[in-house]
């Protein structure tokens, strides 16, 4: 990971302030983070520390009040000014995984994966083939035609992971993705992120409370009272993700 190459994602001195005057709340202050391609980063911190604020800012969902966000070397946000169509940019470059699986209830498992690719212009046949590969890789191919309401929490989360990987994103953002999973499944998901990062060259940021799998991460950041600080690195994972 060379500093001369553009980072998968780089956040510089992000500040987010809600309200103004007496009601002003500083949710995040001068938070900076550089995630290289292939790097897996854990973001730790207590509830209300500003982790989700940081994640939604770098995920181009909420604008920061101040600071710059670059993805793949392209400046996307400077303060609250966006330099690109954020929704289109999210579609092409970012993959999201949340604490709750967040699947679309009226689409089957495979359609939930396909939709992400079809929104990016992938054909129905190609998107179906890759979706099936991802579901097989994640061990839920036999549930491809089931609706989310027919799946367990773990199965739903794996479908959500497949959707996040579908467009081969350059950045994957995960907000407590293992909260609904048991320890074993949780670790599997974390290892999967590491694999994706290393094999696809994606930068991965995972907000987590799960300290049992911290060895999977390359870098650990901690957030407290809106202040972001870097912690210690860890080892990484292996195996092969469908290309």
């Amino acid at each position: 990971m060379s500093q001369s190459e553009p980072a998968a994602i780089e956040a510089e001195q992000l500040t987010k302030i809600y309200g103004s005057g007496n009601t002003e709340v500083v949710a995040m202050k001068d938070a900076s983070m550089r995630v290289e391609k292939g790097e897996v980063v854990a973001l730790l911190g207590p509830s209300g520390s500003g982790k989700s604020t940081f994640l939604t800012a770098v995920g181009l969902i909420n604008s920061p009040t101040r600071g710059r966000i670059s993805i793949g070397g392209q400046l996307v946000h400077d303060g609250d000014v966006a330099y690109t169509n954020l929704r289109s940019f999210r579609r092409r470059h970012l993959g999201f995984i949340f604490q709750k699986s967040n699947l679309i209830p009226f689409l089957s498992a495979i359609e939930n994966v396909q939709i992400a690719m079809q929104l990016s212009g992938e054909s129905a046949r190609a998107s179906r083939r890759r979706s099936m590969e991802l579901l097989e890789y994640l061990g839920v191919a036999d549930r491809a035609s089931n609706f989310p309401s027919m799946l367990s929490g773990g199965q739903q989360q794996r479908i959500a992971v497949a959707r996040a990987l579908a467009n081969r994103p350059s950045v994957i953002l995960a907000d407590e993705p293992t909260a609904a999973l048991d320890g074993h499944r949780g670790r599997q998901v974390m290892e999967l992120f590491a694999k994706v990062a290393h094999e696809q060259g994606a930068g991965v940021i995972v907000v987590t409370h799960d300290h049992r799998a911290l060895d999977v991460f390359d870098t650990i950041y901690e957030m407290e009272d809106g202040l972001l600080s870097r912690s210690a690195p860890s080892e990484s994972a292996h195996a092969s993700v469908p290309h």
């Binding site: 009226f106 079809q118 929104l119 609706f147």
Partner: protein, 403 residues
């Protein structure tokens, strides 16, 4: 991937129920249009079927459909003598009500000008035209009379020799066709006691005349039937229908006839116009207003349904936006659902209406033009109704997927 159909597939029961509800509402809108069309059709049916070029009616009246008209029965001979007239027919028309099997039976009686008109122009579905000048009738199926059935009207009994279809008066009563003389006999039927009283009155009046005093035999006439008294006029008819020889200018013939002081003359189009602008106009406006109201109500209900369907999908829409779906995808989903709902509702309205409307007491006519117009209205209200849901969807933030 069509998200609209995927969502419908997932909650098909609810969608089907909603579509049935919308369909029933649209069926009422469709029915209102059909009732109006039926009223107009029924009102103008006789004018169209009789196929007369000119109608001669009582002076300064708009008869015989819009108001009562009485003209002399000899007018038919006068009219026939006008150059350019191919045929002049008597027109006798009135409505009677009798009891049949304990229920009221309303009959619109129409006289056919025997022997020139035996009812050849009638849409017979059974039986035949009139075969003799008396004691036969052709009845519309709406009257519920069977072929060969004998019906007593006044002092005479008439046999049903033919059955027609959809021959309805402007007030919705089934038509029955008799010879003009029978129609007049039914119209001017007088009970025996009334005849005796009239004859006694004639005698009493005659006794006051000097002529009767000097010639007592004259008083003997007072006891005779009215038809045998030269001083008593023949029963009057409603109008005279004229058919012109081909190539004759109706305006020229009308000009000649309108010069007569006792009658007015109208073209068939004029008669139709009088009817539609007169008695049918209020009904038309009433039904039209109801139709507009129902259309607005249908649009409001559809808007609320689509808004509710959108509210149910807030999380999914937020998620779609989060993973980068452009607004056009979300907008398309809501709009397509609105259109599917509208057109499935329209289809249900049409199919159910076709089964139900024939059971209505008056005709409900689903004209192609009206159906196309309603389809256009449904398309418009589907689009308009979806605007509320689209507005809500556009306001949804991707953040809501994280909530």
């Amino acid at each position: 991937m069509n998200l609209a159909t995927k969502d419908i597939r997932h909650s098909f029961g609810r969608f089907a129920l909603t579509a049935v509800g919308i369909g029933m509402l649209l069926m009422v809108v469709m029915g209102m249009g059909g009732i109006y069309r039926g009223v107009v059709e029924d009102a103008t049916l006789l004018i169209d079927r009789a196929d007369a070029d000119l109608w001669i009616v009582q002076r300064n009246t708009r008869g015989p459909f819009a108001e009562l008209s009485r003209v002399s029965s000899t007018l038919v001979y006068r009219a026939a003598a006008v150059p350019g007239v191919l045929e002049a027919r008597e027109f006798v028309y009135h409505t009677i009500q009798r009891q049949r099997d304990g229920k009221p039976l309303r009959i619109a009686v129409l006289g056919l000008s025997w022997p020139t008109d035996k009812g050849e122009w009638l849409p017979l579905i059974a039986g035949r035209t009139l075969g003799q000048v008396h004691y036969e009738m052709i009845a519309d199926q709406q009257l519920g009379l069977a072929l060969g059935e004998r019906v007593t009207l006044g002092k005479e009994t008439y046999e049903v020799v033919g059955i027609t279809e959809n021959m309805i008066s402007s007030s919705g009563d089934g038509l029955a066709f008799f010879s003009v003389s029978d129609a007049l006999a039914i119209q001017f039927d007088t009970p025996g006691e009334a005849v005796r009283l009239e004859r006694a009155a004639r005698r009493a009046r005659g006794e006051d005349f000097e002529l009767a005093i000097r010639q007592p035999d004259v008083l003997e006439n007072a006891n005779k039937p009215a038809s045998q008294l030269p001083a008593v006029a023949k029963p009057q008819i409603s109008a005279v229908m004229i058919t012109l020889t081909p190539g004759t200018d109706p305006d020229r013939v009308a000009e000649v006839i309108s010069g007569w002081g006792d009658v007015s003359v109208y073209t068939a189009d004029g008669q139709r116009e009088l009817l539609l602008k007169g008695s049918v106009e209020r009904v038309r406006r009433q039904i039209g207003l109801f139709r507009v109201l129902l259309t607005i109500i249908a649009a409001i209900i559809m808007a609320l349904i689509l808004y509710t369907l959108t509210l149910d999908k807030i999380h999914s829409i937020a998620l779609l936006k989060l993973i980068g779906a452009p607004n056009s995808v979300v907008l398309g989903m809501i709009l397509q659902q609105a259109l599917i709902l509208g057109f499935v509702g329209f289809g249900i309205a049409y199919l159910v209406g076709r089964q139900l409307f024939p059971l209505f007491p008056r005709r409900v006519i689903l004209a192609h033009a009206d159906l196309l117009q309603l389809a256009g209205i449904v398309l418009a209200i589907s689009v308009i109704a979806s605007l509320l849901g689209i507005w809500k969807a556009m306001k949804i933030s991707p953040n809501e997927a994280l909530a």
